[in-house]
Structures are given as C-alpha cells and as structure tokens.
C-alpha cells in the first residue's frame, strides 16, 4: 500500500519534473581485489553514465562494516536505489530492513546473501555450474565424437567457483564416453601454478602426446598452461585444445595467436541488467524475478578475439 502511494507520488514528481531529475543510485563495492572486480566497477560507472544515472560509489576495502556504513549513508541521502556487491553472505538483515523501511530497492550484484529474499529487489549474478557446462558442451562438439583425454586445472581447492565449475563441466561432458577426464589438479587460479601443474601433466601423459584438451577453471591458469605446452614443444590450440572460463583480455590475445580455443565469459557487466530491472521498477513498479542470471557467453576464435581484447583491455582487468 505504502509502496503504491509512494510510487504514484514518485510518478507525479517525475511528471512534474519532466524526468529532468537524474536518478541517484548508491553502489557499495567490495573493493578491488582482482582485475575482474576492477572491471566490474569500471563497467558499472560506464553503464550509469550511459543511462544518465547519478552513481554514488563507495569502496569498502573488503570490510562488511564499511559496506553497512555506506548503505546507511545512502539511505540518509535518500537515494533512489542501492547496488550492493556483498563481501560476505551473512549479517545483512538489519541494514537491508532499514533500506526496505525507507522504500529504497536494493539490488545484489554478483554474490548472494543469506537474508530473506523479500529484503532485496533482485540479485544479478552468473551461474557457475552453467559456466562449466557451457565449457564442457563446447568440448563435446569440438571433439566431434573422437576419443579425447582431458586434463583439468581446478581453482583453489574447496572454493565455490572450483567446485561448481568442475560439477558443471562434468555435467557438460556426461553421456559422452569418448571424452575422458584423466587428470585433475588445483592450480590455485594463478598463472604460475597453472604453468607448474601443466608441466607435470605433460610429463605424466607421455610428454603431452596423450592429452587432447585442457580445461582450466579460469583464464589465468590457462595462460600459464599455454606457456608450459609451448615449452614442451607442442602447439597449444592445435595439439592440445584449450578451453577456460572468465574471458579476461589476455586469453583473447592467446586466442588471436591461435593458442586458445574457447572461453566462457563471466561478465563484469552485472550493473546493466540491474539498471534495466530498476528502470522497469521505477517506471511501473514491476518486480523482477529474485535472481537474474547473466549470460555465460562462449567466445571462440570466430568472434574476432583481437577486437574483444581491444574492447576489454582498458576496463581495469
């Protein structure tokens, strides 16, 4: 009831102001611990600028108390919506309730919270299992029915991306007995470990001659592994197919050089879908689904990798 009256009031206001007043959105970002996170910040600012939204940005430097303080300050400023990339899953109930009482919609970006789902408008994120599945399905089509022995570079042991991307990949290749996962080890999501572990895979599999494809849980490990394959005298991309996840700029460089075959994008553009949902909500109060899944787009050398590299290299990855 209150929402409806407020909305009609807002609509009336918007009409009288002739939509000249820019919407104000507060964005509480976790920090800038990785290149991906930096790219997410850059893209959120770009998306806001494109839509004429006045974005108030707050960097929490990995601390939940900073995020809670930022949200309280956004509420005090009376912003029109809040974007939140929560650093942890728990402890958000009271501050989300405060936002709800102030009738400010909150959209979660990239990560989820444990709070009841009526405390936020929607969550935008990717499905990690689905990403692995897309990679697995690509390999099934690339192998084209021929026998293929696959080695896997896992992410940090026990981390949710590592578990989900492994599960997804196994689902993707399920039912195709020609594809066989022969070795799987953690490369800790880093280039150096990816290279070192790939070297041992090559040693263990007849100098690499028995390996038909590499699946890496992120692009950085794949980039390291590509160097190891080259140093072993094999041609990555031809002798050993390379498929990975994330779509960071450097993998497109490798792809342009013919050394990588496919990558599944974990888009840093979580803000675009979030702003779309908010625009619809502001317009006529339409409530989106509680989870908006971003597209896990597959990129291959046919997608002009050089252009993709140029497009991404300045996003802060």
């Amino acid at each position: 009831m209150t929402i409806r009256t407020l909305l009609s009031a807002a609509a009336a206001l918007a009409l009288t102001a002739g939509m000249a007043q820019a919407q104000v959105v507060g964005f509480s970002q976790i920090g800038s611990e990785s290149g991906w996170r930096a790219a997410e910040t850059t893209l959120t600012k770009q998306q806001a600028a494109e839509r004429g939204i006045d974005l108030r940005f707050s960097d929490a430097q990995q601390r939940q108390e900073n995020q809670i303080a930022a949200i309280r300050s956004f509420i005090a400023q009376g912003v029109d919506a809040i974007l939140l990339a929560p650093v942890v899953a728990t402890g958000w109930d009271s501050v989300l309730e405060e936002a709800k009482e102030a009738d400010i919609p909150v959209v979660l970006l990239d990560r989820q919270v444990d709070s009841s789902d009526d405390l936020y408008l929607t969550a935008v994120g990717s499905d990690l299992v689905h990403e692995g599945q897309v990679a697995g399905e690509w390999l099934v089509s690339a192998a084209n029915g021929e026998d293929c022995r696959v080695v896997e570079l896992q992410g940090t042991t026990g981390s949710s991306p590592a578990i989900d991307r492994k599960t997804g990949f196994e689902q993707g290749i399920a039912g195709h007995d020609n594809i066989q996962l022969v070795r799987s080890q953690t490369g800790d999501f880093t280039r150096a470990q990816g290279k070192e572990v790939m070297e041992s895979f090559l040693q263990a599999e007849n100098g690499g001659k028995d390996i038909c494809a590499l699946y890496a849980h992120n692009d950085d490990m794949a980039v390291g592994a590509i160097q190891a394959i080259k140093e072993a005298g094999l041609q990555p991309g031809e002798d050993i197919l390379v498929v990975s996840i994330d779509a960071v700029p450097d993998i497109f460089q490798a792809m342009a050089a013919g050394e990588a075959n496919a990558t599944v994008e974990l888009t840093p553009n979580m803000a675009g879908p979030a702003f779309d949902a908010l625009a619809a909500y502001w317009k006529d109060g339409s409530v989106p689904a509680k989870f908006i899944q971003t597209e896990s787009k597959l990129y291959t050398p046919s997608d002009d990798p050089q252009a993709e590299y140029e497009r991404r290299k300045d996003l802060g990855y």
Binding site: S34, T186, R191, A192, E196, E199, S200, F201, A204, G207
Partner: protein
C-alpha cells in the same frame, strides 16, 4: 670434500629416499630426454621449479645463522617482479629492469636489516612489517592487475635454457656456490656464526655485528629479488597478489630440513639447498602421482613430519641407544646414561 659429504649425508639420504618414493609412485620419474636442444623430464622440472625456494633458502640460511628470520622474502619477490615488469614495460631495457629489481630487493633488505640491527626490533616482527605491507607496494606498482610484458631476453631468464639446462636452475646453483664460497673461503661465515651464537660477545671481540646483520638481510633481499625476477620471467607477467605467496615458509622449511638450527650459529648453505630440492621433489611428486588435490597439503605435511622426526637429535640418540643395546646387552642403568 670428504668431510662436506659426511656432513651432508642425512640430507642426501633423505633426498634419495624421497626420490625413491616418488619413483615407486611414478615410474617415469627419472627419465630425462633431450627435446629441441633442451633437457626434459620430471627431474629437470624439479631443478627448475625449485629455483625460487632454493634462492630464498640461500638467503634465509644466512639470516637464520645470525639467529634472525626473514618473513618478508615472498613479498619482496612480488615487489621485485613488479618492478622488473614495470621497468620492461617502461622501456628501461633488460639491464635497467634487472638493475632496478635487484636494487628494490637490496633496499628491502636494508630496511629489514636497519629495523633489526639498529632499531633493535625482533627479526620476526621487523620482517613481518614488510611481509604485510609489501604486497600493497607491489599492487601499487602493478595497479592491481597482472602486469604482462613481451621481452624475449627477460622471458629467457624464466623459461630459457643454457647448454640445455633451464636458466633458473643455473641461477640458483651459481648463487648457492657463490654464497657458500663467500662464507667458507673467507672468514665471513665464521663471523656470521659468531654473531648468531652471541651477538654481544662477537661485538666485544671486534666483529662489527651491526653492519654484518644489515649485510645479511640485504643478501636475503638480493636472493628474493633473483627469485622474483625468475618468477615474473617464467609467466611473462608480474602477479602482485600471488607471486611468492607463502614461499617464505617453504624457504624456512628448506633451511630446517637442511639441518640448520633456528637458534642461529652453525649453518650450511648446501644442506639448505638440498632441503629445497627435497621440498620441490615432494611437490612435483604429488602432482605427478595424480592424487585428488585435496590430498596435496596433507601428503606434504605428513612427509615433512616424517623427515623432521627422523632428523631430530632425540630420535637419533634413541636410535643409537637401541642399536647399542642390541649389539651388546648392557645393564639398564648404562643405557639410561646414553640418552641425552
């Protein structure tokens, strides 16, 4: 030579045992082939992959011999790698990049040494400061991203070969030999040991302990700089978040497996280097064996525990007692006296 070998016997036997163990699990372990003018094989990989820890262990041995410890070496690696990558991208050329990276390592060592020797902060705390702050410095240099570069000369230091041997292996062996010669062919080693056993007594006897301590931390910084250069050259990029992460602990472990006392005094660079190779053999062996990755650290810890227990003086004494007792049964009282 004979004496050195006798002193290194426990470490050499341990290394042989670990190699044997890995060979049982992975029969192709000792195969070495010549491919495209470079030696290829698991053993060669170990010599190459062990380079960062071996270099860090060389510097760490000297620091520990003075009764100190250097926790910052992993972070200094990240800083020096970042400096090198930044310099290459900035057009300073190979010589400029190497010089800047090495200077960065020496400055880091100077900082640690000053805190320890002049300000008088305990080494574990003094070096903890740089260990914590240093990654931030490295991230400032790389602007939080993986700073990549394309420079064949620099990349050669990480993945090239010299007379078919990987360059990183050549670098750590030469550094180790240089350190050992400098310590044992001059009085320097003796002075380091004197400071480690009793700094005050050494100072009273005329050793300039303050300068010596600073020099030792700078040597550790230099070794960390070389390790950082190799790591950055290997992946053709400086990864401020992950380069050298936790390697200080592996370096300390290498020194301990090498039989050096954490309480300072007598030391052996060669034994620490063998310790580093033992650790790398375990790491590579685990990867080759193909166990699920959840077991990696458990297996490593179990093997390290066994090695350290076998090397402990208590165990050695008990073993001698047990053997003596078997050889010629003696009254219980005498056996008791043999124990430490």
């Amino acid at each position: 030579m004979q004496r050195t070998l006798t002193q290194l016997a426990p470490q050499l036997v341990t290394l042989a045992a670990v190699v044997l163990l890995v060979w049982v699990v992975f029969p192709g372990f000792l195969d070495i082939r010549l491919v495209d003018g470079r030696l290829v094989g698991p053993v060669i990989d170990i010599l190459k992959r062990g380079a960062p820890v071996a270099l860090l262990a060389t510097g760490m041995t000297l620091v520990i011999a003075t009764r100190g410890i250097d926790l910052s070496v992993g972070t200094v690696m990240a800083i020096c790698g970042a400096v090198a990558a930044w310099a290459i991208d900035g057009g300073f050329g190979l010589g400029g990049a190497l010089a800047l990276a090495i200077v960065a390592g020496l400055v880091a060592g100077l900082w640690n040494g000053t805190l320890v020797a002049i300000v008088g902060i305990q080494p574990i705390v003094a070096t903890l400061i740089l260990m914590t702050a240093g990654r931030g410095i490295a991230q400032l240099i790389t602007e939080g991203r993986i700073l990549t570069f394309t420079h064949d000369g620099f990349a050669w230091l990480g993945s090239g070969t010299l007379l078919a041997v990987p360059v990183p292996a050549v670098i750590w062996v030469l550094t180790g030999i240089a350190a050992a010669l400098l310590m044992r062919r001059t009085a320097l080693g003796l002075l380091v040991e004197a400071v480690g056993i009793n700094r005050r007594a050494a100072a009273l006897a005329g050793v300039n302990a303050t300068v010596l301590l600073i020099a030792v931390y700078m040597a550790s910084g230099l070794c960390a700089a070389l390790a950082g250069i190799i790591t950055a050259a290997d992946i053709r990029g400086a990864d401020a978040n992950n380069a050298g992460l936790w390697l200080e602990l592996d370096a300390i472990l290498a020194v301990v497996i090498g039989g050096n006392s954490l309480l300072g005094g007598r030391f052996s660079v060669a034994a620490s280097l063998i310790g580093a190779m033992i650790i790398q053999t375990i790491d590579t062996g685990i990867l080759l064996a193909g166990f699920p990755s959840e077991y990696n650290l458990v297996i490593k810890a179990a093997l390290v525990l066994v090695i350290l227990v076998l090397q402990s003086p208590r165990f050695a004494a008990e073993w001698r007692t047990w053997r003596a007792a078997r050889a010629e049964p003696r009254p219980a009282g005498q056996v008791q006296e043999d124990a430490p």
